[in-house]
């Protein structure tokens, strides 16, 4: 029986041992299979068991960990804290701890421990499980970074939105202001007392105000979009509108006259079209015409009796009306000269009125200007010699090209200049006249230079004005009318020439006249 019993016990033990073996294998296989790193640590912190997952995470081999202190995989502080807390609380849950693998890889793991006790609650060690949080943490950090970036971007967006809103507000304000300005500009344009035409780069009218419509007799809707030559056919000399500012008088339907100003509009140096301003000068023209007519009539009326006086005195001086004494002859001579001056003045006045009326007819023909000048100078040689003034004419060695001039009027220009030079040059002085091809090769320059009294600087700006005489000149020569240089300027201007002078008190004056050469061949070809 005892044997049986001992046999039974032996069998049982055998069975139990087999179970334990099976259980051990089961636990080993389970721990091998288990993907989370696990280990069993003794109460004094020695690693007793590890599974392959733990070997893998730390990079140590099984034999490198077994029997080693927990500090092998944790720091001393971490190991102590884990042991203490496990003993005290029975385990820890998800303590995040930084660890370093054998190869130095730094990781963050969540540590779980569970104390192992016997029946008497004696601490036998602890189970330690790790959960690799590195990727999670990384993802977390990335996610945090993304979140932060998103937040920043959101903030930026908010700021941009805010800025946009501000800009929109500003734009609204600007738009309102621009609209106000546009309305104001339109009001100004609509109510402007002058006619305004805005001509685009293509030469088409883009805008016209009511005054322009009235002046040109065309409705806005009929004119806008049309060529300027259609809207304003009277404005023919478009080719002259080269500069930035151009002024011309244009006669519209009788009696209306407008002064047309064209202003070239430019933006950053590029032509952007043209503004045409029409200023109604009908009233001024009428007044001017009345004045001119009056002067003309008065001059004509004066000239008739003066001519009668002239011929009567002439007859008396020629003794056709009987003998006269020497005194009488002297007085009659003075009367004759005064009368001549009066006639000359009236002739000048009539010329001025003709210029102002636009009736000062020009008959331009191709002439050799040096011939005209030569004739004029020759006619003054006697007077110059009487006054003991050296009058010299310098002609070019080669014949100059012929210029398109009105011979009679050009002769008057030279007469006035030479006469003035002779009048205001003292005895023994010099008057040098020369004619040459201007340095530009496209014009002829005539120079009348004297060694006379000169023109004071402060009066030089008025020299070409009507009836203007230099103060000192009135003392030297009482005969002048102050119309000669006005005529000179107008005649030269009508020939599209230029006249100017240089003068110095006590040294003399030099008058320059420049006349453009119009070559006949080219003019002929142009005019066909």
């Amino acid at each position: 029986m005892v044997e049986d019993t001992s046999n039974n016990k032996g069998v049982k033990i055998q069975v139990l041992l087999e179970d334990i073996g099976l259980l051990e294998r089961y636990i080993q296989e389970l721990s091998t299979f288990f993907p989370l790193p696990l280990c069993f640590v003794s109460p004094i912190g020695v690693i007793l068991e590890v599974n392959p997952a733990l070997e893998e995470i730390f990079g140590y081999k099984f034999h490198e960990l077994i029997g080693e202190p927990l500090e092998k995989i944790f720091s001393k502080e971490q190991a102590n804290a884990l042991l203490a807390e496990t003993m005290k609380q029975g385990g820890v849950k998800n303590w995040e701890m930084p660890i370093r693998s054998k190869l130095g890889k730094e990781m963050i793991v969540g540590v779980y421990t569970q104390s192992r006790t016997d029946e008497a609650r004696n601490f036998l060690g602890l189970f330690l499980g790790l959960f690799d949080l590195t990727d999670l943490k990384k993802a977390n950090i990335t996610s945090q970074k993304i979140t932060q970036t998103l937040q920043e971007e959101r903030q930026d967006l908010k700021n941009a939105q805010k800025a946009l809103m501000n800009m929109l507000e500003d734009t609204d304000e600007e738009r309102e202001r621009a609209e106000e300005e546009r309305n104001t500009t339109q009001l100004i344009i609509q109510n402007f007392s002058d006619g305004l035409l805005l001509v685009g780069e293509t030469g088409r009218v883009e805008l016209m105000n009511p005054e322009a419509e009235t002046l040109l007799g065309i409705m806005g809707q009929d004119g806008v979009g049309k060529e300027l030559s259609f809207v304003f056919p009277q404005l023919t000399n478009l080719s002259d509108m080269k500069g930035s500012l151009f002024r011309v008088e244009v006669k519209l339907q009788d009696p209306r006259v407008v002064e047309v100003t064209t202003i070239s509009m430019q933006a950053r140096g590029d032509a952007q079209g043209m503004l045409v301003v029409l200023h109604d000068i009908t009233r001024e023209k009428q007044i001017e015409q009345m004045k001119t007519e009056f002067v003309s009539l008065a001059a004509h009326q004066l000239r008739t009796p003066l001519s009668a006086i002239k011929w009567t005195i002439n007859m008396m001086l020629n003794k056709d009306l009987g003998p006269i004494t020497d005194d009488q002859e002297n007085f009659l001579g003075k009367m004759y000269n005064s009368n001549e001056r009066m006639i000359s003045l009236i002739n000048d006045l009539l010329d001025i009125t003709r210029i102002e009326e636009g009736r000062y007819l020009y008959r331009p023909e191709f002439e050799h200007v040096e011939g005209v000048l030569k004739e004029t100078v020759r006619s003054y040689e006697e007077e110059a010699s009487r006054k003991n003034i050296s009058l010299k004419l310098k002609l070019p060695s080669r014949a100059l090209p012929r210029a398109l001039v009105d011979k009679e009027k050009m002769s008057l220009v030279f007469q006035n200049l030479v006469e003035n030079a002779l009048h205001y040059t003292p005895k023994g002085g010099q008057v040098n006249v020369s004619i040459s091809l201007h340095k530009d090769g496209e014009s002829i320059e005539i120079l009348v230079k004297d060694t006379g009294m000169g023109i004071p600087k402060e009066q030089q700006g008025h020299i070409f004005e009507k009836f203007f005489r230099v103060d000192a000149a009135t003392k030297v020569n009482t005969e002048g009318s102050g119309l000669g240089l006005y005529l000179v300027k107008n005649i030269v201007g009508a020939h599209k020439g230029k006249v100017w002078f240089e003068s110095e008190i006590g040294k003399g004056t030099a008058f320059h006249v420049v006349l453009p050469i119009k070559e006949e061949g080219k003019e002929f070809l142009k005019g066909l």
């Binding site: 006949e520 061949g521 080219k522 002929f524 066909l528």
Partner: protein
Amino acid sequence: MRFFFWMFIIALVSMTGAFLLQPGGGYLHFPFGGFSWLVMSLVILAAAWRLYFKKADRKELGTQVKTFALSLACFAAFLFIMFLPHIPLFFTHNDHGFFSEQMNLAYILGHIFLYLSLAVFVRVPLSMTHPKYMMPGMVFFLILGAVTTIINFILPNAPEFHHASGLTLLGVDPLVGKLVAINVALAWVPAGAYFIWSGITALNTFVKRRGLLLGSGLLVATIGGPLHDIVASAPMFLTADLVTILGNLMVAAGIFMSPSLEDSRS
């Protein structure tokens, strides 16, 4: 410009075609020579009319433009008279003797207008370059024209209508032919050169173009016109006709061209 160009091309194609594609031994009944005289006379007359009535109102250039217009009118008269004997040829081609007689007369009378045209024309360039010689120049050309006309009466032409080509062979006596060529060349070559020079030296694009066109036209016409008087064969007459048409059309184009806004600005 384009109009004149196409007119020349049409004339060139039709006349060359008629000449080259004549049926073997057959007769062409259209008098192309006469037709070209007519067309040229009308074109030149139109140019003269334009100058006289449209352009001669400018005070400073009126005389010169009128003179040029008068010269062109005389030239148109010459061309038209040269066309007149061809009228029967548009209907019948039988009376060769009559055509020859009439063409000889038309040649002599028509050329009087040509000499008049040249005598008047030389006044234009001379008035610009040597005004003193305007009258002597005109008289010289009148005398030269009169002498040529007298010689032409003494040495008449033997014109004939060339059926195969539709051209008129003028059959001019060599002496008369040379005299006509001298007349034309003396009047037109210096003037043509002067216009070309004026065109070359002009700054204005339009004046430049017109000068070159008018000058070259006169030079080409100088070659083409007298060529009629010194050649005898049909192909040479065809060449003379085409060159003359080209020259006259160039002159007319020079007169009819008008400046663009751009040109007038320059």
